[in-house]
């Protein structure tokens, strides 16, 4: 890709100021939209761009917006999912800390499209700086008249509020996020009804990711044709990939989708820290790891799905040969156990059970039958859990069993304890 778009101004020292944002064209797109486009035209434009959500599920954004009923007399809500809890993911934090106005402008455009009069940005509580930057940016936007009553003297009014999360990964799931805003425990809700029909306070609601809103501004600033010219046809537009783990170069890189994972971790990631890569997780901790042999897989939705993994949040975590896979498997099980909301039996009871078994294996107390038991538990959780947390957990754990059974067997068959006992961590 020739020029950075999503990250264009990120490193500029004034990137968070509204004056700088306006000087570089900010809020111009919004003015044009509010004064000359109909909400339906906005939706159609985003549909035509084939923008896919940048949160993790990759649902077509324009299509999601089109599900909101029109002229139903109810209040419509827009939510920005800035809960960013998927391990390996940190792109939204970057966008909020360094380009908050772009997030806001994207939200106002989206709110106009679905005729929402209230929007909430759900920012995870740990992201203190993001919250400060967004809050400051909102204040500036209100002062300039980009928010509040009758924006640009049109009939459209919008209020945006920040709702601070308080440490629950599950609130990144859209219906759990809505529950959290309503003041309940963050547990996912039954679908149907879908949020677009009955979401926040039982009203039509759209929830989108931070990066998705940023893409929206660029679609209108540079055009649908520009957007669709980047990357594969079914997943166009620039994307922010996160690189972390045992790589030389860690950070965020802006690229079109479609490149291979190998290219990503070698050309951009600088290759492994020590020796060879052992496996690479392509899309956040819920995405099954790809072993070294599979690194040629292309980083787009379809190819990763075919490889029994997923695009997720495009958070690439690389493991090199110094890492023991059972340790990673155990840590995955522990993470999801900690974050399980407790609603459904398979996730609530099954993941801690898997965690206990994996702990035992890691500390040298594994038994024959443990792997089979893990397979059964993962199967039960994968097929039967209420929401994607259980599915992701089981899938990721099963991948470690599938690709590295020898490492598990070695630990189980050994009588001595080969690694430090980490069980109290």
């Amino acid at each position: 890709m020739s020029e950075l778009v999503l990250l264009k101004h990120i490193t500029h020292p004034d990137s968070t100021s509204i004056a700088f944002y306006e000087k570089t064209g900010g809020y111009q797109g919004l003015k044009k939209i509010l004064t000359t486009y109909s909400p339906d035209k906005v939706i159609d434009t985003v549909k035509a761009s084939n923008l896919r959500g940048r949160g993790g599920a990759g649902f077509p954004t324009g299509l999601k917006w089109s599900f909101v009923p029109k002229d139903d007399g109810k209040t419509h809500y827009l939510c920005c999912n800035a809960d960013e809890g998927e391990p390996g993911t940190f792109k939204d934090r970057l966008l909020m800390e360094r380009d908050p106005h772009r997030v806001i402008e994207g939200m106002i455009i989206a709110a106009y499209a679905i005729q929402a009069e209230v929007a909430y940005i759900y920012i995870r509580g740990e992201y203190g700086l993001s919250i400060a930057m967004i809050t400051q940016a909102l204040k500036a936007a209100y002062a300039r008249g980009y928010l509040g009553q009758n924006i640009f003297n049109t009939d459209f009014s919008l209020n945006i509020y920040v709702h601070k999360g308080a440490g629950a990964y599950i609130c990144g799931e859209e219906t759990a996020l809505l529950e959290s805003i309503e003041g309940r425990r963050g547990q996912p809700k039954l679908k149907p009804p879908f949020p677009a029909v009955a979401g926040l306070y039982d009203c039509p609601t759209v929830i989108n990711n931070v990066e998705t809103f940023v893409c929206v501004t660029h679609i209108f600033a540079r055009g649908v044709d520009w957007f669709t010219s980047i990357g594969p046809e079914d997943a166009p537009g620039p994307r922010l990939f996160g690189l972390s783990g045992q790589l030389q170069n860690r950070g965020i890189v802006e690229l079109p989708m479609g490149l291979s994972l190998r290219e990503l971790v070698y050309d951009y990631g600088g290759g492994p820290l020590t020796g060879q890569f052992k496996a690479v997780i392509p899309g956040g901790l819920s995405a099954p790891m790809i072993p070294l042999a599979g690194l040629d897989v292309k980083m787009n939705f379809a190819d990763l799905a075919a490889a029994d993994s997923m695009m997720g949040s495009a958070a690439v975590i690389a493991l090199d040969e110094t890492t023991s896979i059972p340790t990673v498997g155990r840590r995955i099980a522990e993470f999801f156990s900690h974050e399980s909301c407790g609603k459904c039996a398979p996730c609530r009871e099954g993941l801690p059970w898997a965690s206990k078994i994996l702990n035992r294996i890691e500390s040298g107390h594994g038994r024959s039958g443990d792997i089979e038991q893990l397979q059964v538990i993962c199967g039960g959780v994968f097929g039967n859990s209420f929401c994607a947390l259980g599915v992701g957990a089981a899938w990721a754990i099963r991948a470690t069993l599938k690709h590295f059974p020898h490492e598990y067997d070695a630990l189980i068959n050994q009588q001595t304890i080969p690694v430090d006992d980490r069980t109290n961590l």
């Binding site: 629950a168 599950i170 425990r185 039954l190 156990s337 900690h338 974050e339 399980s340 909301c341 407790g342 609603k343 459904c344 039996a345 398979p346 609530r348 009871e349 099954g350 801690p352 059970w353 206990k356 078994i357 035992r360 038994r367 039958g369 038991q373 059964v376 538990i377 199967g379 039960g380 959780v381 097929g383 039967n384 859990s385 209420f386």
Partner: protein, 816 residues
Amino acid sequence: MIIFKINGQEIEVEEGTTILNAARANAVEIPTFCYQDRLSTLASCRMCLIEVEGRPRLEPACATLAAEGMAVLTHSEKVISSREDMLEILLANHPLDCPVCDKSGECELQDTVFEYGKGDSRLVDPKRVFRIDDIQLNNVITFNANRCIQCQRCVRVCEEVVGDVALGTMERGLDSEITGVGNSLKDCSHCGNCIEVCPVGALMSTPYRYKARPWDLDKFETTCGMCGTGCSMTIEAREGKLARVKSQYETGINGELLCAKGRFGFDFIDGGQRITQPMLRKNDVLTPVTWSEALDFIIDKSLNILGKNGHIKGLVSPRQTNETAFIFQKLMREVFQSSDIHASCRFSGLNLQPETTDILKALLSQTYSRQPLGDILQSDCILLLGTNICDENPVSSYLIRQHKRDNHNHLLIASSRPCTLDDIATEKLRLLPGNEAAVLSALLSTQPDELAISEDQQLSDFVIAGKTILEQSASVSLLIGTEFMRGQQAKNCLIWITETVQHLQQQGKQVFMQFLFDRPNQLGQWHMGCLPDLQSYDQKSIPDMFYVVGADPIADCAAGDQLEQAALNSPCLIVQTAFMTASAQQAMVILPTPSYGEEDGTYTNNEARVQKVSAIRPLAANILPSTVIFTQLASALGLDIIPNTAAQILSQIKQEIDGYQTLKEDFIFGPKLNDYGLTTSPPAITEAEIKAPAVDYLALENYTLITGDSLFRSGKLTAQSKNLSGLGHDAYVEMNPGADYDEQQDYEVTITRGNATITAPLKINRAFPDKLLFIPEGQLSTPANKIITAAEYPCVVEVEIKVSSITIKSEQNAQS
């Protein structure tokens, strides 16, 4: 209608039916834990997952609607395997407590594992244990967190149906634990519905703990004897001793719901001082005598009085069965030649004017709706008038809450005391009893500010909003309490109730009206004919004989009430009772009778539905059924009353009492175990129209005392219940003393009226209107020291509040 397949068989159901309900209606079993028909759907336990052909993942049957052409498999390999896995996962942390767990034998987890489980568990790792000892959440609920499978039925029933929101879940994931605040339950009504819905042994009844195994228990289907809701319950006894009370989902208007009184209060039958043999006053001392001596005395006295054309008065308690009341009024009318028959001690207002009985009779036969409560609650507008429903008819209030959630209708509440339904009311008003007529008059009037009510903002707001809602409603249900019957306005209120129903009907609306009685068989007694002929009998004159059945006029009547005076001054007071009472202590003759649960009979509830009351144990040796006493007296006095058994008497009732003709022959084993059906409205009689009079509105200006039932007290009987006595204060005065008084300090209140005075601990309720005081009826003072008078209800009193010198040991104080 939709046609789809379950296991290859075609089934037709209404659109909007879930696969689960469709399956159950067609005898296809699908196991569930978190699903409960009355509650919101969670689909969290994942036990009901079934296979829908063409879909990759299993779907929850409880949350998936049946669709045209769908093919559902409930016992495919995938489904069976999924159930096995889910159960194994649930058993991973569920303790193997069956040998010591109360629920064993009736445990849904046990039953489901037996049916669908693998038969072994491969968990070798330590289970998650919260703690070793169970927690006493309060005096009646014990909680074992280790056994909980997080189905959330308890939390949902408490929030969605009962409305207390006392239970919640703390932490998350495997650490999730059901809790109250600080492990005790604030605002809990102690109804025990959470225990009833818990599928495992996590929530347990403390009084029942370790007492029995379900298979040891004899089960008796019966009807509750606390209030007029008429809940169906199963009293379970072990070797004749009351073990516990349960309620089944399939039976009654209440299903699995009961209130604290119903669920825990029936140990009253083993409390108090039981009368074991007849007694006769000799030389001013009550002396045990034989039945023949006692009855002979009565017969002689009666002959004497009848010979002189004297006056015999009768009073039967609204807790007595229809059969007892029916034969009693036969005895009174046909033997004692008297129709001065009463069926309540507390409704002083009904006896003040001669026309009142006729007005009441007309209302009961012409205006009263004999319909299922569930149907009535579907109306566009429900008006709760003059009823403290959450204390007096708790289960009715649960049903209202549930129906409002499902139907989104308007709920208008005008009552003397605040209640938990206030939260979901469209409009609410605090109303002194007696003002019901004024409010109805205001709601119906076409003039905007008739009655100088505009000074009272709350009242104006309510009337204005209420009028609009009534106008917009195509159907209206009036559910009316009986507090107004205690006071001077009783007759006017009855007139205005009739007027309101007719007025709204003339506007083309569908109108329903029922009373919410706080006694189980008030309506039944009145149907049986136990209403006094006030035109013929001067209520002030002292009767030559006063025959009291089951009631306690000396204690329960307001000071100066005519029935109280009759009991105190009649030369011959006969008291037929199971327990020693104040009236019995003054009686000339005491005749022992069965208590609740010792004889078969029927009650007629608020819906005018006749339901069976069952004996759970045989009578003690020297006790005769009330009806037998009456027939023996009648026989000795020259009249043979043939029907003797409860069944025979019911047959006679069916013949003779208007509206009882269509009752079923006998109860039917099955879902409606003790339901004889609704009575029907008697044919219309044209009566003289009574013009609804203009009425004044009585404002609350001075300290005013009201009384009635509380959450744990139904009259005096419940004071005999050990379980209920352990809940709440023994006596208290509930009021809002103002911001100067705070919950950290203990205060006591002294109430005085004339020479009567009572001092009791203060219970602060900030939702009470200023200057209103409440003492539960059963805890008002002794007969000699009555604050409440018949001449004035509600009563204006003098009040003094000071810091308490007594330390109060009670659950409620400890929590605040």
